[in-house]
């Protein structure tokens, strides 16, 4: 187990190293002089020189990279050009909002996805199965930003049941209740695609397991059908589902970019979109780094859970 964990950790470090090089190069791969781009057409030469020196752009690339990484390791990701504030605290406070949204979406996606998948499998090829399949197809095919807009028009503009955007109402003190009301639409929107994927995946896994001999044996032994489904069949699909959890985490983080923009959710996704539009490179670099790191960590966690769940993985 220890060796397995060490291996996983090592590969995570290598991935992060690669990410850091890519992120660092973002600034240098963009066409044009980054400093002139940042300052815009009214910048005078003096300002350009000053910012260039401030960003250390006059040194050779490897020197710049080492300096950037060593600062990043100390938690210094530079200052935002537009907001004139340190990047890291800004990113972390935004990341918190993204996490709330992603976790809420994950809970919806997994609970409903698993439920629908199990119902489909148990009712294999019956009407319920077909309806769920149709719903899953629809959910995967509809772009999240479009679903979000339709949701806003229906539930916020026309019915006025839910707020159109934001994390809290602008007036008064924030509370968990208010947060929950604001979470419903964005979290559901973000959950749709993973939910459909999980439902389909659970269904096929369950069907596979349900057809196996030990299930038949259990039934023959007189184990009640419900118990067979929950303990024997569903239990055996979990290993594969853990893998899915890791993959879907990536989808949730990526999907947050659209969903946060549509719902004005103050997360890291909307911050990145703003930063890209305003060419705020330190924010873009830091944001990619934070998202990539969290993705790597989630996958590492998945690997560890996976190993814990399935002894065969640890051995290899």
């Amino acid at each position: 187990m220890r060796r397995y964990i060490t291996q996983r950790l090592l590969s995570a470090v290598i991935v992060l190293f690669g990410v850091s090089i890519l992120v660092f190069m973002v600034l240098h791969l963009t066409p044009g002089d980054p400093v002139e781009i940042m300052l815009g057409p009214t910048a005078r030469p003096g300002d350009i020189e000053r910012l260039r020196a401030e960003l250390g752009l006059t040194d050779p690339l490897p020197v710049q990279y080492v300096r950037w990484v060593s600062r990043a390791l100390q938690g210094d990701l530079g200052r935002s050009i537009q907001l004139n504030r340190p990047v890291l605290p800004e990113l972390l406070s935004r990341f918190q909002a993204t996490l709330i949204l992603a976790v809420a979406a994950a809970i919806i996606a997994f609970s409903l996805g698993l439920l629908l998948g199990v119902i489909s499998a148990v009712n294999h090829n019956k009407l319920v199965d077909r309806v769920v399949a149709g719903f899953a197809m629809l959910a995967v095919s509809m772009p999240a930003f479009w679903v979000g807009m339709i949701g806003i028009v229906v539930f916020a503009v026309n019915l006025r049941w839910l707020p159109a955007s934001g994390m809290y109402p602008p007036q008064g003190a924030p509370s968990w209740g208010k947060l929950l009301v604001h979470l419903i639409m964005p979290a559901t929107t973000l959950a749709l695609v993973p939910m459909a994927v999980i439902a389909r995946f659970t269904r096929s896994q369950m069907l596979e397991v349900l057809g196996q001999e030990f299930v038949l044996t259990a039934r023959a032994k007189g184990v009640p059908r419900a118990r067979v489904i929950v303990d024997h069949a569903f239990g055996n699909t979990l290993v594969a589902l853990i893998t899915l959890l890791g993959l879907e985490a990536g989808i949730l983080l990526a999907g947050a970019v659209y969903v946060e923009t549509v719902f004005a959710w103050p997360g890291i996704g909307s911050l990145m979109v703003e930063a890209i539009l305003k060419r705020d490179f330190p924010i873009v670099q830091g944001g990619v780094l934070v998202i990539a790191t969290s993705y790597v960590l989630i996958n590492l966690l998945t690997d560890l859970l996976h190993a814990a769940a399935d002894p065969r993985i640890r051995v290899t």
Partner: protein
Amino acid sequence: MADTSNPSDLTEAGTELARLMISRREMLRLATFTALSGTFGSLLAGCAPPAAPSTAPTSAPAATSAAMTTTSAPATAMAASIVVGLVAEPTSMDPAHPTDNNTISRVHPNVFETLVKFKQGTYEVEPLVAESYTVSDDNLTYTFKIRQGITFHDGTPLDADAVVYSFERQLDPNHPEADTGPFPFASWYYGSVDKLEKVDERTVAFTLKEAFTPFITNLAITIGGIVSPTAVKQERAGFSEAGIGSGPFKLKSWDKSVKMTLERFDGYWGNKARLGELIYRPIVDEQTRITELLSGGVQLVTDLPPDNIEQIKQNPDLVYAELPGPHAWFLNFNMKSAPFNDIKVRKAVAYAINRQAIITDLLKNTGTPLHSCIPEAFAPYYTPDVTMYEYDPEKARALLSEAGIAPGTRIKFLVTESGSGMQSPKVMGEAIQADLAKVGIEAEITVLEWGAYLNVYNAGLDAGGYHLAQMSWFYGADPGVVPQATLHSKNWPTNKGFNASYYANPRVDELLDTGLAERDPVKRTAIYHELQRIVADELPNLYFDSQIQTAAMAKTVKGFVLHPSFEQRYVDVTIG
């Protein structure tokens, strides 16, 4: 979040997990359900109750201060609040920092006060912090008499020292609290100041290096907002989140990227704000801004998406407002090389372009046609009395054949993907290309991303072998500064200037120079009218349109007026 940053913690977590794994099935349950709801649940809880760090100067709990505003409201005014949807997060609450219109014009005029302010509807200035001012005969020394009895939001008095301090910390890089942010806008607006001194407790004198008329209007921009020296010295870098000015509203709380709440400043020297609270919400997505307005979540938004304007105009619960902005979109001709060194060819292009069709169909009327080098927002300096080139392809063909330009002549046209103030440059460029093709000019378009575009553009069209290019400018507070930068012969790209057409006309240079020094509005108007006529006749640039600023608000909002400069003041706004 569980601390997974330390590898040894992880290993420990792993062994802990293994130990827990009494049976595989139990482990599996643990892994999914418990872990999902449990860990994520605690994750959620760990994320700490809602409020993002609030940087309020007054740290009273929101509920109590809301109650306070209700009770302390004067009988005449409702202690109501209004929610305004902004296009982006305000960048800083230090007036020295921001470079974006969103912060400078929409937020700061309500928190900070300047020596003078724009009169409603025009760029003429009237007293604000200064109750009066005088200008010396040589137009070099501006002396301001500071109004008595102004206090900052922190209770300290606004006096001559505060005025001197507010400018010195922006103009003197060696000032102990010098902090201009990444881009020192102060030197762009107040760089002409040579000497700044306190004459007495209530008098401040600015001496300029040379006569520069825009100085007084530039003082109305909130970059020159007067800040509390006590607060800056106390807060240092934190001042950018404290924002202690003397305006009718003071900062109550700022939940980054969620909202900024301003509340009425009851110690305000003038007419007090009629709203109890003014709340800004950054809503970046334009459709979301509109749906928030439609669903009643916000009461006022600006910068509407062109496609929604009709819908808003027809909604009985909303009021629509628009005003041309101090903006010009234009085409640069490379006058250094053929074929645009010939005035006839430039005129042919002007006649060939169906401007109205582009404005109506592509820009959905979010622009208003502009034929002069000074935007309409600068009336009376603006004049429509110039040569206007209306769509006339026949005339264009005739001019081209007169100039000896054979049908099928190729030119290189520099177009940008997008860019600040560029409206819809790509589709506009393609429409212009199609119009030119109809009269026999084959424009070959090069599309560049904005940053790359500026590099090529600023290096000079001739250096890149281009004949035609697009550009736009926001004119700031004065009609003369941008024409000087874009039309004066000393500002060719070869001198790192913005005269990208390589225009040179001694009379134009003279008008531009005297225009910036002339203080008499009547004489100045004559100067700029002449300038606009010459430029329209000689066509170094083909001025195309001025972007319109738009706003929509709930019918219950009263007293909101757009200003040509984009600034928005909420002191007289009420909500029913």
